[in-house]
Amino acid sequence: MHDARDAEDTRLLEAGEITRLIESYYGVILDRCHLKLRGGGDAVDVAHEVVLRLLSELKRGRRYRVPFRVVVHKVIDWKAKEHFTRGKVQEVELDEWLALASTESTGELDLDDPFESWIAPLTELEQTVLRLHYLDDLDFQEIGRRLGKKPNAVHQIHFRALAKLRKGPA
């Protein structure tokens, strides 16, 4: 799902095209900041904080042993959290994570797949339907054909799964 994107990120990093790399993530940075701040006007400011932190990291030559997108999302999560706590969060926690994720570190880094951890509370069948629909971009008819179920049944499983996720933990 992310292979092509990760390869392009690596190419941009190796070519030193840092601004182009950050620019390519700016859409999702803005989207997630708007969501985290629930559409509030400060979202653009928080997004800018994310950009400045990423630029600061890359301009001093830091590179990562995890895909760059993982770093981007980590910094988004952190900066949004910092916004809500009005800067009372210990910045050292993000610094430590980024240092641990850098190529210079050999320490153990816990990483989970955000999609898999999100759908983990669902049944195996519900997880399969969501993977096929959102990761493999299959419609309900095709999913039904693969799973031996009618499209209507797949549709119901899909919406039941989303309803469970909606009620799930934040």
């Binding site: 799902m1 992310h2 994107r5 601004t19 950050i22 620019e23 390519s24 993530y25 700016y26 859409g27 999702v28 803005l30 989207d31 997630r32 708007h34 969501l35 985290k36 629930r38 559409g39 653009v44 800018h48 950009v51 400045l52 630029l55 600061s56 301009k59 997108r69 981007v72 999302h73 797949d113 955000p114 999609f115 999100w118 959102y134 971009d137 899909h158 919406f159 989303l162 309803a163 996720l165 909606r166 934040a170």
Partner: protein, 193 residues
């Protein structure tokens, strides 16, 4: 007609997003109404996991404007490789204004471009005309007016900002002269949408 559920809105957004469209999360939060908290949480998890979409041109302009401390509308015009005079001439023609008053249009446009003219009261016809000249959602771009540079931003500027100088120049040459009676041009740029 019944309100769309959070599940329906999520699926619609995710499907469009994966199709390569750029659905606006803010529109979806508005549509979710009282359920927007639930939808925001779900979409945030989804966007964390999905491949990042390409930014829109308006977003790229916003990013550059923020980093370079330049007015977004000015950046957009430069991206189009247009002179200010060319934009003003096009505006005069598209809005059907008296060519003899193009100097006044130029002053208003200059103020708008450098962010000293409040874009909110600017008439929709001006945005429409500018949009066709600059080929972008100009109203959205102009709304992103520059802010004073933060110390942390200064380190990333390619060169010292000329924004302060531009603002000073614009303030020194107000578009509407005090001794002139308001006309169509004043109304277009200051009277409201």
């Amino acid at each position: 007609m019944s309100e769309p559920t959070v599940e329906t809105l999520f699926d619609e957004f995710a499907t469009r997003y994966l199709r390569g469209e750029q659905p606006d999360v803010r529109d979806y939060l508005v549509r979710a109404g009282a359920e927007s908290e639930d939808l925001a949480r779900m979409l945030d998890r989804f966007l964390h996991a999905a491949p990042a979409r390409e930014p829109t041109e308006e977003e790229v302009v916003l990013l550059q404007a923020r980093l370079e401390q330049e007015p977004p509308l000015l950046l957009l015009r430069r991206r189009r490789k247009l002179t200010r005079a060319a934009v003003v001439d096009a505006l005069v023609g598209l809005l059907g204004l008296d060519a003899a008053k193009s100097g006044k249009v130029r002053r208003y446009y200059s103020d708008l471009e450098v962010g000293v003219l409040d874009p909110r009261p600017v008439d929709g016809r001006v945005w429409e005309a500018l949009g066709s000249v600059l080929q972008a959602n100009v109203r959205a771009v102009a709304a992103l007016r520059p802010e004073p540079p933060a110390p942390s931003a200064l380190a990333y500027m390619r060169e010292p900002t000329g924004l302060q100088a531009k603002l000073s120049m614009a303030e020194a040459a107000p578009a509407a002269q005090a001794d002139e009676a308001p006309d169509e041009i004043d109304r277009l740029f200051t009277a409201g949408p």
